[in-house]
Symmetry: C2
Subunit: 352 residues, 2 copies
């Protein structure tokens, strides 16, 4: 263990977290420093609760050298779940397991700085948590509580036949960014000296790759979009496993099917570059890569007018339609053939 961290001790670390996480949120009766936090619920609102873990070696590598981004992402992936309900985030709890050796205090401080940036950006107060040693890697677990007007949460189960399937932003950027990271690229850094660079990768392609790295390391939770879709979207899910899988979940919970057009899938420019560079199918990255944290939703009305008000530059794409037959999520290719979309990222089948 880093001597500075060992000197600080568990209670010193809790004190550091308490000091660094300064953003406050309404409804906090009692924050960090007791057995539990005490929160005052809003009148006529329901509480939304979600939890996500990020584990070293599975969700991130410490040698990428991006602890600040990791701090932001740890909260962002939970914020994305609140966004997918149309909710407003309020209070977070942090579980932090620190391995016995090799994590300098400065890295923990950078992680907390990122967490605080994200918390402040989205109006979240850290109100509690748990710190402990970890025998293995760095363990990050965030639980996020939010609110939504009673009865107004957008569920996965509300889709109906003949509604349109929509998605925000572009897909496959995060998966492409992950492949680029694994190949040695780093955010805001020049092409690594030891990595062969194809001649066709010019400044535009490199900028696309950097956008992919950002999409993976710093996903932007679509909170304003999610909230603007309350009363418009009939069902919604965030794209964490890839739309091939996530649209399937939405169909299952809504007891419907969906048919989307391959040609309409908005492919992130990084996926196109990585596809050519590393011999991957860009459409496959877009459908099955996961971790884009865009919003996938169904709607009868065109959602774009109301989204223009909150995110004028965001692409919102009609992918296809909900169908009555509960045949899952299906993809129609340019040749007119229809394919069942296989699953997205599965943590267990991906494990060695």
């Amino acid at each position: 263990m880093d001597p500075a961290l060992a000197h600080l001790g568990e209670f010193g670390l809790i004190g550091l977290i308490r000091e660094r996480m300064r953003h406050r949120s309404p409804g906090t009766v009692l924050g960090i420093g007791d057995d539990a936090a005490v929160l005052r619920p809003e009148a006529d609102a329901e509480v939304i609760a979600t939890t996500d873990m990020l584990l070293e070696g599975v969700h991130f590598q410490r040698h990428w050298g991006c602890p600040r981004e990791l701090g932001r992402k740890t909260l962002a992936v939970n914020l994305s779940d609140i966004a997918a309900m149309g909710g407003r985030p309020q209070h977070a709890l942090l579980g932090l397991g620190v391995p016995p050796s090799g994590v300098p205090l400065a890295e923990i401080e950078a992680l907390l700085a990122g967490l605080e940036e994200e918390a402040a950006a989205y109006g979240v107060a850290l109100v509690g948590g748990d710190t402990c040693a970890s025998r293995s890697g760095l363990v990050l677990s965030v639980t996020l509580l939010g609110v939504v007007a009673a009865g107004r949460a957008i569920l996965r189960s509300g889709a109906h036949p003949e509604e349109t399937v929509w998605v925000t932003g572009r897909l496959g950027g995060s998966a492409a960014g992950l492949l680029a990271l694994e190949s040695g690229l780093r955010p805001d850094s020049p092409w690594p000296a030891g990595l062969p660079r194809p001649t066709w990768i010019g400044p535009a392609e490199e900028a696309a790759l950097q956008a992919g790295l950002r999409a993976h390391l710093l996903p932007v939770p679509r909170l304003a979009i999610g909230q603007a879709l309350v009363g418009c979207a009939t069902a919604m899910i965030d794209v964490s496993d890839g739309i091939a899988s996530d649209l399937g979940h939405l169909c299952t919970e809504s007891r419907v099917g969906a048919r989307i057009q391959a040609g309409r899938v908005p492919i992130h420019p990084a996926a196109a570059v990585v596809g050519r560079w590393l011999g991957r199918d860009p459409l496959d990255l877009a459908l099955r890569g996961g971790e884009d944290y865009e919003l996938l939703f169904t709607s009868r009305a065109d959602p774009r007018p109301r989204l223009l008000a909150v995110a004028p530059e965001l692409e919102v794409t009609a992918l296809g339609a909900v169908v009555a037959e509960p045949l899952g999520a299906r993809l129609e290719t340019a040749d007119g053939r229809e394919h069942a979309m296989a699953g997205g990222f599965d943590h267990f089948s991906a494990a060695p």
Copy 2:
């Protein structure tokens, strides 16, 4: 990875959890199966939120062979935090990281069975969570939400001079049980063949050791006690790090000191046996061992009459008194000398 678990996959495991965790709780608008849970707050109540992680190799060893107990304890340590606020538990979220190899599906099923037993025993519904592969050990993270009447939560910060310091139950049993586990003893099992058995350890001593194992593996959260102390206890904390440390936290938050008598500390019988067997000081196990999950609280009035109604057989011991000088937690020994109580378990100073 166990082929049965790999075959099940991540979404199969989520389905299994959804199927096995059957206990329902009022206020659940939407449980497992969406991006987040939706909960209806109670009128005139505040929400209490706490989170605790149990990590393999730090908080437990899989080779102890007690997955059902582990499932119970994962929830129990969080229930204990709700108890220490005087609250009533309602909704839980589970983060579950499963290592890529060596955890049979049957072990996960036993863990879920234990979790469900504990949830049903205390009226908790599992409403959400996150499952993923873990590159390292088994990772368990539970967040528990409860309620307490508005303004009635018992904080750490409410102690006043001249109040009495009380503790429920006996201390040091969990630490003694952990030492016994590490020495090879197992719950409900005869003395191991390869382990030398001192001649003075007879049936009574062995029963005490077994009680220590149970105290460590299956701590009993003091929920009814905590709730009965609302309106009586002025400050409260659960004994997770050992009273030497936990009484210090209570003093710090209340800006007071406390002086307790060494001779009054209720030492668990297992601590006495382990003390003689392994050459440890039973009082030290009781003060600094931690994980007893008893309640340590301050009160002006004698709490025993009201506790008799909910737990007639539970010992409740007056340890000493709150004092005005903010000198931390101090221990008075039989010779009349006074000692500052050093800290309890610190995750980072205990790390190798």
